[in-house]
């Protein structure tokens, strides 16, 4: 990233504006979905969070140039992701696993 010629950065401006446009549209879509009843509330939530993930992917991938980053960074982040899923997943699993009374 630090060794390219200055001219290579020219199209960053155009790319930045494209990304902003997509993020804007995704956000407005997200907001709209939140007001439209789609039967099951969980379906709304899934769509909304999916849209959020799209936005996150764009910000992280392009603005933080994660898509062109080195293996070392990926390794750290993937490991972090696994640990985070462990925290959230196991905590929720523990919450949901209630002892069943089996005594007769």
């Amino acid at each position: 990233m630090s060794d390219l010629q200055p001219e290579a950065y020219k199209n960053y401006t155009r790319r930045g504006l494209y990304i902003f446009a997509v993020v804007l549209c995704t956000t407005l879509l997200m907001v709209t979905v939140s007001f439209v009843p789609l039967g099951n509330r969980h379906f709304n939530i899934a769509l909304i969070l999916g849209a959020a993930c799209v936005n996150a992917f764009l910000v992280a991938g392009f603005l933080m140039h994660l898509l062109s980053e080195r293996k070392m960074i990926y390794t750290v982040l993937i490991f972090t992701g696994i640990v985070f899923i462990g925290l959230m997943g196991l905590t929720l699993f523990a919450h949901g696993d209630v002892p069943q009374i089996t005594g007769h």
């Binding site: 490991f79 196991l90 905590t91």
Partner: protein, 607 residues
């Protein structure tokens, strides 16, 4: 300690280096230093003070437990004078006992042992052992120490506020921690935020230093095991501490703003329904706390194993057995440690599936631990063992950690944990690991690296007195606790279980027998003995700085790792010439060489 003339070409940008050309004043040199060696010593001295303070808290508690209701000699009147009602007539009230207990745990873990392992030993040795001139971010290093210091001050002052220090255990479980009428808990939470931030910044520094600043030729598999242990421990701190910080922020919200993130609906305090909105989850705190606190115990043990490995290799004059196994086991240990935490929560009403999951991972994690211990043990086979003081401590570490680790197994199984949870068995288990385990490794490290810092050896005779006394008395203190725990004596009882003793409730089944209760006196004598043998250590430590036997060598132990290949004490830039590494870290007794060790940076002999 100033740098020698700066004639080396700048590999970075061309910045004027004012520090090289003028004497830095006292404040910049010793107080606001950005030199990792000074910062390491700052951490070391501060942490040793907290270690002593935490020890004193324990002494008063143990005396009171052996003599319930009696005034503590000498200390009692002092406490009464300073703290007032809670120590009326020199007797510790239960509230005071609880605050001493909670703060003993907090101080020992967060203000003494971890800062010694990572802040003192890690800071001082990691840049040296990787051949760097400093940490990757020296000013961040200074900031880390300052956060730690502020956190320590906050924790210490909490004893003196009305209501006293935090009293709900080092685990601070809500709702108890929230309803005790003291600001001590708020101080604890603020102190923890400072300490966690300090640790996080320190971890970023250590990891970046190891990744980026290794000297040419120092590949990952040529790193001393101590560096690997610091690397894994730092990753554990980096990723496990933030959820506790999050939980700490949430508990602060509850304490300061009156929210109910951890207060359940319908909570009654003092017979009345609490004025809170309710809906909170006390279990949530436990999950977030133990998510940190379990990896934390591996932070407590891994760098200690690293220290022991260095000392064993050096004093057996042969390479560590199973270097690769050690490295991969440490990595596996680090990874698995993130998914075992709820074995501290077996009695919270978890379902059987989740309990089985955590039980399985807990059993799995014992495997890499045992591999590491076994490698260290096998390393002794066929060695030319030198029984100096550091080696005595390192050798004793092995069986002591073995006892601690093995006694953890019944706690890891949820079925046996039903009987043992929250009893003295648990206290015996974890103290065996940290006290004759980690602290022995710390003592070993202090005796071992002392000559590198000062150019003098600590006194060997008093070192052995310190060793034998500590070994005997630590076992005197902690071995009986297994018996007490198995008999059903619970933790955190200010009267030492007198309320449940056979003397109090004769004929009740499960009451604590007279023999079990008498062990309190036995343990107290052990604690007194342990205290007495620390005195020669403290004197030895400071006296030898100026009066110890001179080493007349930069490498008195004839060690192979890079920190010994510097002048004594190392100059500000550590290495006069950037080292280049040609071999692994434990090239001892290599056939065909004249000496029985070959330093890592010694060029290969020309054929």
């Amino acid at each position: 300690m100033q740098a020698t003339t700066d004639t080396t070409p700048h590999t970075g940008a061309h910045r004027p280096h004012a520090a090289h050309h003028e004497e830095t004043g006292f404040w910049r040199k010793y107080i606001f230093s950005i030199d990792h060696k000074i910062i390491g010593i700052q951490y070391g001295l501060t942490a040793l003070c907290f270690l002593l303070f935490g020890f004193c808290l324990m002494m008063t508690m143990r005396w009171q437990m052996a003599h319930p209701g009696e005034a503590i000699p000498i200390i009692g009147p002092l406490l009464a004078k300073v703290l007032g009602n809670v120590a009326a007539k020199g007797v510790m009230s239960p509230d005071l006992y609880n605050s001493f207990g909670a703060m003993h745990g907090t101080i020992m873990v967060f203000l003494a042992v971890v800062p010694l392992l990572t802040g003192a030993f890690g800071n001082y040795l990691v840049p040296l052992q990787v051949g760097a001139c400093d940490m990757a971010f020296p000013r961040l290093n200074m900031a880390s120490y300052q956060f730690y210091f502020v956190g320590g001050v906050i924790m210490f002052t909490s004893f003196f506020i009305p209501g006293g220090a935090a009293q709900a255990g080092w685990t601070s479980y809500p709702p108890l921690s929230l309803i005790i009428p003291t600001d001590g808990q708020t101080f604890w939470l603020l102190g923890m935020v400072c300490l966690i931030s300090s640790s996080l910044l320190g971890s970023v520094n250590i990891i970046t230093t190891i990744i980026q600043l290794r000297a040419p030729g120092l590949t990952w598999m040529r790193l001393p095991f101590f560096v690997w242990s610091q690397f894994v421990a730092s990753f554990l701190l980096l990723l496990a501490f933030p959820p506790l910080e999050a939980a700490g922020v949430m508990q602060l919200m509850d304490k300061v703003t009156g929210s109910s993130l951890f207060l359940p609906t319908g909570l009654a305090v003092g017979g009345k329904i609490a004025e809170a909105s309710g809906g909170g989850s006390p279990i949530l705190w436990q999950h977030l706390f133990w998510f940190l606190a379990h990896p934390e115990v591996y932070v407590l043990i891994l760098p200690a194993m690293g220290i022991v490995a260095e000392i064993i290799a050096n004093n057996t004059r042969k390479p560590i057995w199973g270097y690769k196994s050690l490295v991969y086991s440490s990595l596996a240990l680090g990874f698995i440690s993130f998914i075992v935490w709820a074995h501290h929560m077996y009695l919270t009403g978890m379902g059987t599936r989740i309990a089985t999951f955590f039980q399985t991972t807990t059993m799995m994690i014992s495997i890499p631990s045992v591999i590491i211990l076994t490698c260290l043990l096998i390393s002794l086979w066929g060695g030319s063992i030198r029984f100096n003081t550091p080696m005595l401590f390192a050798l004793a570490f092995l069986p002591m950690f073995g006892i601690g680790g093995l006694t953890g197994l019944p706690l890891g199984f949820s079925a046996s944990d039903l009987h043992l949870h929250d009893t003295y068995y648990v206290i015996g288990h974890f103290h065996y690991i940290v006290a004759p385990g980690t602290i022995f490794a710390l003592f070993a490290g202090i005796y071992f690296w002392f000559p590198k810092l000062t150019g003098r050896m600590m006194n060997e005779f008093w070192g052995r007195v310190h060793f034998w006394g500590s070994l005997i008395f630590m076992n005197t203190i902690f071995m009986p606790m297994f018996a007490q725990g198995l008999a059903g004596m619970l933790r955190r009882m200010s009267d030492g279980g007198a309320n449940y003793s056979a003397a109090k409730v004769p004929g009740a089944s499960g009451s604590l027998s007279g023999q079990i209760m008498n062990l309190h006196t036995f343990i107290l004598w052990g604690a007194v003995g342990l205290a007495l043998v620390q005195i020669p250590f403290i004197i030895n430590l400071f006296y030898s700085i100026k009066n110890g036997k001179k080493t007349n060598s930069d490498n008195p132990w004839e060690a192979t790792t890079l920190e010994w290949q510097t002048p004594t004490p190392p100059p500000q830039i550590n290495f006069l010439k950037e080292p280049e590494v040609f071999r692994g870290p434990y090239e001892y007794s290599v056939p065909g060489h004249a000496r029985d060790f070959v330093p890592q940076n010694e060029p290969d002999a020309k054929p």
